[in-house]
Structures are given as structure tokens and as C-alpha cells.
């Protein structure tokens, strides 16, 4: 098989990943799988164009903003760490659903510092064209020190 044929198959697999995600929880899991697989197109295919992201005190007001500013870094973190699902609740009805999850996130930073924290995730999804897509993420952590450092850093970035 040529490299190009393999690449074409990968594109088809990305599309299949999006199409295969049927339930809200499966859609959330597919997003995390796409990040871990370093599959940008598959991750984007699971996002509604009206996406708004709240992440550790920062706001991405559009899907484009998230895709450009933070998705690559989220992919790096997803590849460098292990995310173990610890709890999940789902709800909503009709075309509007929510998925609440907590994950134990472990790994190591570049300098060897261990990463070991609980990440809290709220996801709101909307069904359009028969498929659930993500319209909102909110990530935070139970690690108060981490949260404080992240928010402080965001405030510094926002100063003119």
C-alpha cells in the first residue's frame, strides 16, 4: 500500500469516527480518542460550529478560536497523559443533551514533574442531521493550586 493510499484510508477513518458516534457519551469519548490519536479532522468533526469553550478560566468564543488556540495543546496533553474515566452522568432530552464526567489524569511533564489530578468536564451536545455534536465544553480541575496558577496566568495574558 502506498503512503498516499494509507493517508486516504486515514481520512476515511476520520469520517467514519464521526459518523459512528451516536450517543452523547460516545461522542464525548470519540473526541478524546481523536485527540489521543492526533487526528485533528476527526476531533473537529465532532464539534458544532457554535461551540463555546470554557477552559481553566479562559474562553474560546467560537469553534475556530478553540481549534486554532487550544486544540493543538489539548492534543499534546491527551497524548502525554492517561485519562481514566471515574464518573459520568448524562441527561437532557430530545436534541439537547449533557454529559458530566470526571477523569483521573496522570502523566509527567517535560521536567519530570508528575501530573496527577482530577479533571472535571461538562459537555453540552446538540443533535443536528441525526448526529450529536459538541456545543460546549467546560473543563476545570479539583486541584485548587493548579486552578489558581492557571487563572493567574490567564489574567496576565489578558493585560494590554
Amino acid at each position: 500500500m502506498t503512503r498516499f493510499a494509507g493517508w486516504l484510508l486515514a481520512l476515511c477513518a476520520s469520517a467514519a469516527l464521526a459518523q459512528a458516534a451516536r450517543t452523547p457519551a460516545e461522542t464525548v469519548d470519540a473526541f478524546h480518542t481523536a485527540l489521543r490519536n492526533k487526528d485533528t479532522a476527526a476531533a473537529l468533526s465532532l464539534l458544532d460550529r457554535s461551540l463555546v469553550v470554557y477552559e481553566f478560566g479562559a474562553v474560546d468564543p467560537t469553534a475556530e478560536s478553540y481549534a486554532f488556540r487550544h486544540l493543538p495543546f489539548d492534543m499534546d496533553v491527551a497524548v502525554a497523559t492517561a485519562w481514566k474515566l471515574e464518573s459520568r452522568r448524562t441527561g437532557g432530552e430530545g436534541n439537547e443533551r449533557w454529559v458530566l464526567s470526571t477523569y483521573r489524569v496522570t502523566g509527567r511533564q517535560l521536567d519530570g514533574t508528575p501530573i496527577d489530578q482530577t479533571t472535571l468536564e461538562t459537555v453540552i451536545l446538540r443533535r443536528t442531521g441525526g448526529l450529536f455534536r459538541i456545543v460546549h465544553f467546560h473543563w476545570s480541575t479539583s486541584d485548587a493550586a493548579f486552578q489558581a496558577r492557571a487563572q493567574s496566568q490567564r489574567r496576565q495574558e489578558e493585560k494590554p
Binding site: 498516499f4 467514519a16 485533528t40 473537529l44 486554532f68 499534546d76 517535560l110
Partner: protein, 101 residues
């Protein structure tokens, strides 16, 4: 290469080059400007994956067939660049083809 996620620093999962469309070309090429370098090195992106991050073709992915300092040409088999517009943002990532799951 390092990547930052708030105060978490981890290894970058991929080599990346974000860019902006500066002019339209043929159905398979466009003029572009890298956002982290003054220009592309000719054919440094050959075989890399290009994903549109802003614009009508949001989320569309292509394989780069070749590039000059300022022009990117994608492989025809992924379809045309129809819908791409000046000002659209994209990212090019060095990644090997993934096996279907």
C-alpha cells in the same frame, strides 16, 4: 518542541505549522503565509496533513503534495480546495497515515 497547556508543559505530539491563506491559486493550491516563520522551506511540508481551522471548509483535511516558500499544493485525491478563501486559517501537521480503527 514544547507545548504549553496553562502551566502544564508536555512534549508536542506533532510538528505543526499554522498558516493563513493569502491568495487563491488553482483548485488544488493557494498562496499562504506561515504564522511562526517568515516563509516555508520548499517541500518541507510534503506528505504532511493540512486541516482547515477557520473558514467555510472548517475541519476539511488534505495531504500536502508540495510547497514552495509561499504556495501550498494539496493532493487531488482529497478533493478540491473549493470554498477556501483569503484569510482562512489552517494547520499543517507532520503525521504518518493512521490505520483505520
Amino acid at each position: 518542541m514544547h507545548a504549553g497547556h496553562d502551566d502544564v508543559r508536555v512534549e508536542a505530539a506533532l510538528k505543526r505549522s499554522p498558516g493563513k491563506v493569502t491568495a487563491l491559486g488553482s483548485v488544488y493550491s493557494f498562496e499562504a503565509k506561515p504564522l511562526r516563520a517568515p516563509a516555508y522551506v520548499p517541500n518541507e511540508l510534503r506528505g504532511w496533513r493540512l486541516t482547515v481551522l477557520k473558514g467555510e471548509r472548517f475541519g476539511a483535511a488534505f495531504q500536502v503534495e508540495s510547497n514552495t516558500e509561499s504556495r501550498i499544493t494539496v493532493a487531488p485525491a482529497n478533493g478540491s480546495l473549493d470554498g477556501i478563501a483569503v484569510g482562512d486559517l489552517f494547520i499543517v501537521e507532520e503525521t504518518a497515515p493512521q490505520s483505520p480503527q
